[in-house]
Amino acid sequence: MNMLEVTNLSISFGGLKAVNEFNLTIKKGQLYGLIGPNGAGKTTVFNLLTGVYKADTGTIVLDGQDLVKLSTIEINKAGIARTFQNIRLFKELTVIDNVKVGLHNGTPYSTFDGIFRLPKYFKAEKEITEKAMELLKVMGLEAEANFTAANLPYGKQRKLEIARALATSPKLLLLDEPAAGMNPNETAELMNTIRFVRDNFDMTILLIEHDMKLVSGICEEVTVLNFGTELTHGITADVLNDERVIKAYLGD
């Protein structure tokens, strides 16, 4: 069964085709990689999938639901959550509150309940605190729960972004360069975490990454993007040995 089907997706900025006739099919539960040289349009694809940009043409179908006309918020509710290449945390909030913001739409009480501290408020707050702590444990952040997010080291900030995205209970998780800035040990640990998330949360994951060790280590399939168009796609090991791909990375 397919979790995501993207067909003929295109967008241009001022005459430049940033993404051109892009197609992508991801099966449920798959770990999928989107790779390509800098400026190939990978993050633009993420922005199109999450509604930050509106596509000029093409369709995006998530688990049978058409997403093209939906806003960023509606797309999140439909089941896509993401992390950002340039980390975007709620810096002044605590680590656990960052996750609780992710749980926002799963927190069942109204503004009125909140202001007047009705029983619903206490019950729901207790529940989401537990949920948030669980997610932090998965990411190995439980010890830092009450730190201010801005004070976390870089690698942990990236993990907190994943925890926050998971908190929205998505069907599809988009990770934009999750290993950027990590050392080899941290990357190895992150690979385990990503696998754990996929297996234990029933997650489908699409990730952008430059670290080929990570891509070949955990992605089952990859698509290579170059100059906004697909160069090739298929089983990771085959694609990474494709001459065209090597050429695209190294140049002529």
Binding site: N47, V52, F84
Partner: protein, 294 residues
């Protein structure tokens, strides 16, 4: 015929707004900040002309030059001391609140030095009014000079930005500070230059404004400053011709509104225009659309 008179006065007032708006628009375009104190620099400029002319007996032209020098120095100083340290602050509120602080500082310093009572300003223009249609329509000498000055400044500034190296540097900094720096442009110097030009223009605007409306107080700059910002937004912030168009339109609307709707409501009308413009076309008449990078 009285309509024509109001229109001409509107043009004249609008020219003053346009000159002030140029200062806002250039600073906004390059430093990406609303320089709240710009209106008070106008006031300082007007006081500098006033003191030079009445206490020191300088000629009108010399007084204007002195005022421009004073304001230029002031503008550069403000930028260096109060705004530059906050250029990379995490919150854009920080520099805005600081600018409000600077505005208050200038106002209250002027209040301590010159007192709250209004000074009667001697016009820097010594030109006879032109009378048309058997004297039914009259264009004051100040209006003629103001409108001319506005056109000259507009053309001069456009040429400066497009034809000189410093002007090109300004354009580059306003597009992308980091990239400009990598290209070897001195970003700090460019921003200082922008403040210098904007503040010198504020001195001109202050002198012309007080020549037309000769009551000068420490608060004289506040409202014209805010209205000129409205004009800059109206025309499209960052655009030099936009500031000119916006300024003229605001001046005309204010004068016509004063004459035909209600003199007390003129300010409210100007502000209502701002709200409507931002609702319909937030980028203004000639503004560009900027999208935040994700």
């Amino acid at each position: 015929m009285s309509f024509l008179n109001h229109l001409i006065n509107g043009f004249s007032l609008g020219s003053v707004y346009a000159i002030i708006a140029l200062g806002y628009t250039m600073v906004y375009g390059i430093a990406k900040m609303l320089n709240f104190a710009h209106g008070d620099v106008i006031m300082v400029g007007a006081f500098a002309v006033f003191i030079s002319m009445t206490s020191m007996g300088a000629s009108a032209l010399l007084s204007l030059i002195i005022a421009m020098a004073v304001c230029t120095a002031l503008g550069v100083l403000i930028e260096k001391v109060a705004y530059r340290p906050l250029r990379n602050a995490s919150s854009s509120l920080a520099v805005l609140i600081t600018a409000i602080g600077v505005s208050y500082l200038l106002q209250n310093l002027a209040l301590l030095i010159f007192g709250a009572d209004s000074k009667s300003f001697t016009s820097i223009v010594n030109l006879k009014a032109v009378k048309l249609f058997d004297g039914q329509v009259s264009i004051s000498g100040t209006a003629i000079v103001t409108i001319t000055a506005c056109i000259v400044i507009m053309v001069g500034l456009t040429l400066f930005v497009n034809k000189t190296k410093a002007g090109q540097a300004m354009k580059a900094v306003s597009e992308d500070k980091g990239a400009a720096q990598l290209m070897g442009i001195n970003v700090n110097a460019t921003i200082s230059l922008t403040f210098a030009i904007g503040s010198a223009l504020a001195a001109v605007a202050g002198a012309l404004m007080c020549s037309a409306y000769p009551n000068l107080t420490p608060y004289s700059g506040t409202m014209p400053g805010i209205k000129a910002f409205v004009a800059a937004v109206f025309g499209g912030i960052g655009s030099i011709p936009g500031a000119m168009i916006g300024g003229l339109l605001i001046g005309i609307i204010e004068n016509i509104g004063k004459a035909y709707i209600s003199s007390q409501m003129a300010d409210a009308i100007v502000f209502a225009i701002l709200v409507v413009v931002l609702l319909i076309k937030p980028t203004g008449i000639l503004g560009k659309n900027i999208q935040e990078k994700v």
